[in-house]
Symmetry: C2
Subunit: 123 residues, 2 copies
Amino acid sequence: MINEIREPLKRLQKALPGCFAATVMGFDGLAVDTIEGPQDQFDITTLMVEYTELLKQAKSSAQMFAAGELEEVSLRSKELAAVIRPINADYFLAVALPARSSNQGKARYLLRVTAPGLAKVLS
Amino acid sequence: MINEIREPLKRLQKALPGCFAATVMGFDGLAVDTIEGPQDQFDITTLMVEYTELLKQAKSSAQMFAAGELEEVSLRSKELAAVIRPINADYFLAVALPARSSNQGKARYLLRVTAPGLAKVLS
């Protein structure tokens, strides 16, 4: 199972130049696996745990307001962009990128096509 | 002052086909002004108040992790997409759109170019 998660994460990280990290994480804030790029500017893992809370809140808001299942959250700050996509009720897929790269659209696309395969492994 | 906020919101709402609402809201969850499109599917105003909490959390995470000022948050669920952009420390600009429209990129762009003018009015 680990390779079926690690390999897609490696491909994601490699396909997005400058990608700080690609991770599959539980909504409990525990990472299943993370591929980190070469940087020591950000504590990506801890940041992702922070984002878990945020994502849980976004999920419950979407449901509460009949907006349907949450599909994607993107956050951009001055230095860092994150694209996060729920895989199923328990796990999400996320990448952290340099904010100034033009790869956020590509990241959105790659997460969209990668998530269904991970859903099969994590079901 | 109200017109200097209402007019840009009207332009935003008009420029984005199907736009459910465009709003300027304080981080305290109180709307300064909101232009709503013709729909009764979603309680957009209350949803935006929910998103205020989320945005505050995203802001503090970004700062805590030295990722720099938060610039944009996008959320997409099955039916509804929201693009939110802080104007300054006290206010943010947000639009809610049908999730299946292709206008989220346009919304991001329009929020980016509209926010500086609102920042002058709200300073």
